[in-house]
Symmetry: C2
Subunit: 468 residues, 2 copies
């Protein structure tokens, strides 16, 4: 989460709009763009091309953690496929990425009875000693409770048993639990998986160490086992577990963002980004998070090519690397394109699952929002014409900090956190028609914004995106 | 499933009713039993005693497969607790049970890519050779498809990829898939887990070998991976897996049914059974299947004791052993009590999950059904007054074959097969109030039937129960 964005935005302001037609001239957007929008929607909905390509990706390469051979092989494949699609200027842009490897890991209940438990180490965690850490478990329901019971924590494994409310509220324990526990003398930290639904399913995800305290190993356990620990302690049983992890953080590894374009007919140096992240966690298949967003963005641009729709400005698909555990892809893009930030009209990222879209979230100035609301009416026929504030995504966040308006499909997220960062993030969780609706939504928004006579005004993005 | 039951029932017929008051005399059941029924319902709903006892059972002993130390330890505990509850004639009745042990097992995708897959060997399966079986996978959607493509099966691992419809329709592939595949030359059989919902969750369960063909190893895979195999083959990829299992069937082991009673005040030798099975599969905690049914039945009888309600006839709680993979508990009871079958008025078993009850299922004569409908009106106040045909359970099935009417709570099973025979069968899937409603339902039905002036007529049970 980055709270400093607002301050950096106004500087670029509406520079790009200088000398352009006023926004008011765009009042006929819905009329003007009905035909290309309908052709994009019809093409997106006529088959399951995006779902099928995503299945091919995830079945062939599996999950794609930064630093893994599977991610790099998938990137090679995407580059070749994108060229075969006829996209223009297809290339990779280098990015250095976090290289954390899970290794072998286990959690065993040793008291009050002996049983193997499900767990997933958290990304970035250090290893335990070779023979693991065996210690009593202390369960807390909040950081405040840990603080008030700090004297009990020394030598314990602290479990943060926090029921899912919102992702933002709950994920704090996954990200910061280890250091909070280390601060009061704990030897390891466990976190109840960040999810409202569990089939004994651990959810991994990133964590961060506070540099002022000792690093201790940390892992997610299932909702079921967190509740069991709490019950056992409530009965007066002593809960003891053995945690073994040999995770390692290796030196940063080279990776790549995949880029392809439809070059603009009039202003090829002005760009609309449409994107998703290609990397995933090292469990499941990364179909929902975020192969789906990446492939849907790609498909949106492929359909423009197929339909011969070439907007005035360039539409650029980016398949980001390293969203999950470092953000190296988004930062590398920002660093390479910093001088072009003023020529980036809009950045779209899909990273909330390619579920049924109600519309888009948008972060930008009020005048830009007014334009986007007009464009979005073109999606009313598929029920996706709504516009809500606070669009964005963690990979486009660095560009948004430079004043680029941000957008994301606003989808039905009701099942997103059921599967998020788990073995259950697989193709079958996505519906081909819903994926196609996301393709249509991104295709229409990207194409029309790239073709508008006047560029979308820059500046004043709203709330910062949160890593997903 | 046993289709020969009907023929064995009429023999005993209404023998027990000879010399008793006619059913018509029981028309005021609802009035006569309002007070004790209400006191049982109120006591059941006033706290979470059953849920808490079940949590204690499952947290303390974990899952409880026949032949395992955990089952026998849990049985020892139940005997002691039941005595402490003040139940009468608390004792164990011996039963020899199947002793299958899972051992180490794994399934690895080796083509078109390398990946570990989730699996659970099926109960009763033989082992693979030490180095496993590596073979191409052939996917079929039915026994008919296997027959029509029999020529392709030789040397293959056959996967039955059959979507869940009803348990009865779908479980046929788990039970009989291995022998059907062996018949056409397959070297192993996989079955898509029998469930309408999956979080990459394999579901184990029993299987049976046809004695006329070779035994081949067999395991369940997840819905997700079954769909993936089908997609891969659809693309022309060759799917190859390595299956390793070292499961063993050991000699039958001694186990026990747990029995406790409220002795009847007038006819202590006439009995109403209220029961559930205490064993489970060796995954999860066996909370829903069927610790919940067993503990709810136990609680129903404990409440009678606590309230000082002693019916005319004996109410007997039985916690069955070995429902899941052999039925040794139910058969041992039948063998030990065969001569008393005529004095068993009713057998109740809860094995469909202690979810919200709508009423009961009942298998018996029309005249018995008429009585049961009257008794059930006492449960109208908790929404559980419905009576539907075909009550029963696999442990009471042997006694039902001797003419004993059978009954089971008729519950909302919508989530039952989500968790059935999986690691996710844990306490949190059960709601304390719903468990209490099941306790109330069984307590009222058992108490009133045990106290009726005239015994419930025997005979003519309906459709046979299916092992769960």
């Amino acid at each position: 989460m980055n709270l400093s964005r607002a301050s950096s935005i106004l500087a670029l302001g509406v520079a790009i709009a200088a000398g352009q037609a006023p926004v008011a001239a765009q009042s006929s957007i819905a009329t003007r763009y009905r035909a290309p929008a309908d052709s994009l929607i019809d093409a997106a909905l006529k088959d399951s091309a995006a779902w099928n390509r995503l299945a091919k990706l995830t079945d062939t390469f599996g999950n794609r953690l930064s630093g893994s051979p599977s991610l790099e092989r998938a990137i090679d494949w995407a580059l070749a496929e994108m060229k075969a699609d006829g996209l223009e200027n297809v290339h990779a842009e280098p990015a250095m990425v976090t290289h954390w490897v899970r290794g072998e890991e286990s959690l065993t209940l040793v008291s009050p009875r002996n049983a193997p438990l499900r767990m997933l180490g958290l990304g970035g965690s250090i290893a335990t000693p070779k023979n693991g850490i065996t210690a009593p478990v202390m369960v807390v329901g909040s950081f405040d409770e840990l603080t008030s019971r700090a004297a009990e924590a020394k030598g314990k494994i602290v479990l943060f048993d926090v029921p899912f409310t919102t992702y933002g509220q709950t994920v704090r324990y996954r990200v910061g639990g280890a250091s909070a526990a280390a601060k009061v003398g704990a030897v390891a930290a466990l976190v109840r998986s960040v999810t409202p639904m569990s089939f004994r399913t651990p959810h991994t995800g990133n964590m961060r160490y506070d540099s002022t305290v000792a690093k201790i190993p940390t892992a997610a356990i299932t909702v079921e086992d967190a509740l069991m620990f709490r019950r056992m302690l409530g009965r007066g049983d002593k809960v003891v577990v053995t945690l073994k992890m040999n995770a390692q953080t290796l030196p940063p590894a080279p990776s790549r963002n995949v880029v392809g374009e439809i070059r603009g007919s009039e202003k090829p140096d002005e760009v609309v980004i449409v994107s998703g992240h290609f990397d995933s966690w090292d469990v499941g298949q990364g179909a929902m998070d975020d192969g789906g967003g990446a492939v849907a963005a790609w498909e949106a641009v492929r359909l423009m090519k197929q339909l011969g729709l070439r907007p005035r400005r360039t539409v650029r698909v980016v398949l980001w690397t390293n969203e999950e555990n470092g953000g190296g892809g988004g930062r590398a893009y920002r660093d390479a394109h910093r001088d072009d930030a003023g020529r980036h009209l809009l950045a779209i990222e899909s990273d909330n699952g390619v579920f049924k879209p109600r519309g888009v979230g948008f972060s930008g100035t009020d005048s830009a929002m007014a334009v986007i609301r007009q464009v979005a009416t073109l999606l009313d026929r598929i029920g996706a014409g709504g516009v809500v504030p606070d669009g964005g995504g963690s990979d486009i966040e660095p560009m948004m900090q430079l004043g680029v308006p941000g957008m994301s499909p606003d989808v039905d997220e009701s099942r997103y956190f059921w599967y998020h960062h788990t073995e259950a993030d697989t193709m079958d969780k996505l519906d081909p028609h819903e994926v196609a609706l996301c393709v249509a939504t991104m295709a229409v928004m990207a194409y029309v914004v790239a073709d508008l006579p006047a560029p979308l005004p820059h500046g004043a993005a709203a709330a910062a995106a949160q890593p997903r």
